[in-house]
Symmetry: C2
Subunit: 353 residues, 2 copies
């Protein structure tokens, strides 16, 4: 018996370490590698088509017999403001031309988005045992469906108030995403300025009020920071940035290189890529959009508008024009693959029981 | 022998816990209470007159035989833009009239400020054993004088780059101020956007590069967070907000009440009170200045412009119009005085050796 038995038993894993779902970085190979080592892998499918969702889940299942989590984006879909979308697209087209990143334009009138609602039946059919979500809380109807399936539900909070709402809705566990974390902020309450709470302030405040397991996310990249999260009282840790520069990652070489050498202040919060606040290494695309005079459209519209340009930049390995999501703490363990990094984390954190 | 012996021996204290210097809150009584309990008290004298500096030091010495730190503001003094200062003062006068907080206006032409340079000879004459500073690094001439006096020097960094500069200048220890910390940001590098690095990201990155003791500051308010800071590798912790609501504090009742009940997102960074970014509980004064259309003047000019209005608000116990500096983590130990809180911190952190 040890203090982590409760959460590892619930999640059917060996070690209280979660690989963060990183859309655009995480592959079935990454999820399976973590699962096979005894951690919780998280497969991100937010915004993907039903077909792609099924494909990725089945691919992951082929690579591991262990349980893994599937991560949804639980946001509402906004109306497209065609005039503003057109302005932004024109700006991006101009940017592409200027920097040799020409891309096919979207037909804005037919722009459409996949909701998590089209994915939940797939998750249930695939008997996914753990469903995590961010950007909000699934509507009651869908939440009840997930609960009835027996899946363990993990919500994402960036402040105490969001955690209290998740608790009221009956999630099983809460990921507390500190301001240090890379990628999109999970924030869903719009009544307050963007919460920018450090993980050391966030985790204890949520734990004080909610008697459910809290997973600490942000700034965790080695044995010492894992131990610190556990000292605060976290039941598990979620780690993302530390797995970006690996053979299982979709990150282009320029991104992997940049993230490995980043320091604390190299990342900034930006709306430029997706219309949702996200932490990434400051680059030219962010600067260009921020100085354009145009306001990024709401998520996921801005995300769709910038996708083709980013894909072009990725094909050319140009890190200046694609999102370089990264937390405030660069990877500290420089090993080539996720399994090796995971094992080293376990060793450093002295979790080898 | 334990892992803290080195730092406690250097600082001649018993426990690796520093009471943060909080100008406007900290009293000689607070510093002495912490010193007498075996911690490091810090007396803030930034911007005070030579006479006041001497008076506070001597008062503290009367209350404790133990060593304590004196904290300086190591910034340069900017020129006063009379036109902008006059605009801001007019706005504040209007605000005062509107809310029953009339105050005497400053003669802007004769506005003057005390530099840390007028204080260093006093610290040396008073044989202050530990000098901490923030908002910059004293000029070489003054730094050398302090070193020659035998004082231990503690600089404040809010990002790795600032820590590297402090290290190059030969400070003995570095306080790593995470974004969670209350009050003024110690930031002094102006070449980057304001660093907003969480303490979990900041402390390890500084420790990786610098072989000197690092003091963790931000979000620390109980035994668990102290243990977390030590797990990260910090040599000591600095704690401020936890001591605001005490009998030794200058904080008015409305401030003490507000800080005790604050939650993670209640504090915001603002320039409104002083012209330097500082974290305080959001209140009406911040909102009014931020919506005024006037840009706060550089520190310490804005600070001087707002002083009389704030004093008036304090006299009337109106928390809406004075600075309510607070970190992201409210006090967790609700005991009336600093000694009792300090002893409880020691007990919870299991530092009673």
């Amino acid at each position: 018996m040890n203090r982590f038995d409760s959460i590892t038993q619930k999640l059917q894993i060996q070690y209280p370490i979660v690989q963060a779902p990183m859309l655009g970085v995480t592959t079935p190979e990454m999820v399976a590698a973590i699962a096979n080592e005894g951690g919780l892998g998280s497969l991100p499918v937010g915004g993907l088509s039903p077909e792609k969702t099924t494909e990725l889940i089945q691919k992951t299942k082929q690579l591991t017999q262990r349980p893994f989590a599937v991560n949804l984006f639980a946001h509402a879909i906004p109306e497209v403001d065609l005039a503003k979308a057109s302005q932004m697209q024109d700006f991006l087209v101009g940017l592409g031309k200027k920097y040799g990143l020409e891309f096919p334009e979207l037909h804005l009138e037919t722009l459409s988005f996949y909701s998590y609602k089209t994915q939940i039946d797939i998750l249930i059919a695939e008997q996914i045992p753990i469903v995590s979500f961010t950007f909000g809380i699934p509507d009651d109807e869908w939440l009840q469906k997930l609960k009835a399936s027996g899946a363990i539900l993990i919500g994402t909070a960036t402040c105490l108030e969001e955690a209290l709402l998740l608790d009221q809705k009956g999630v099983d566990m809460i990921t507390a995403q500190g301001i240090e974390a890379g990628g999109h902020r999970g924030t869903f309450l719009e009544t307050i300025p963007l919460p920018q709470v450090g993980v050391m302030a966030l985790v204890p405040q949520i734990m004080n009020r909610i008697g459910k397991p809290v997973l600490a996310s942000g700034a965790i990249n080695d044995g010492k920071t894992i131990k610190a999260a556990f000292a605060m009282g976290a039941s598990a840790v979620q780690i993302g940035t530390a797995f970006i520069a690996t053979t299982e990652s979709l990150a282009i070489p320029a991104y992997q290189q940049a993230v490995l050498t980043a320091k604390d202040t190299d990342s900034q919060l930006t709306l430029a890529f997706s219309g949702r606040w996200a932490r990434g290494l400051q680059n030219q695309f962010m600067t260009e959009v921020e100085h354009s005079g145009f306001t990024p459209l709401p998520y996921p519209i801005q995300n769709s508008l910038t996708t083709a340009l980013r894909q072009k930049a990725q094909q050319l390995n140009k890190g200046d024009f694609t999102n370089l999501w990264s937390g405030q703490s660069a990877p500290k363990i420089h090993l080539p693959d996720c399994a090796a990094i995971f094992r080293e984390l376990i060793r450093q954190a002295e979790l080898t029981y």
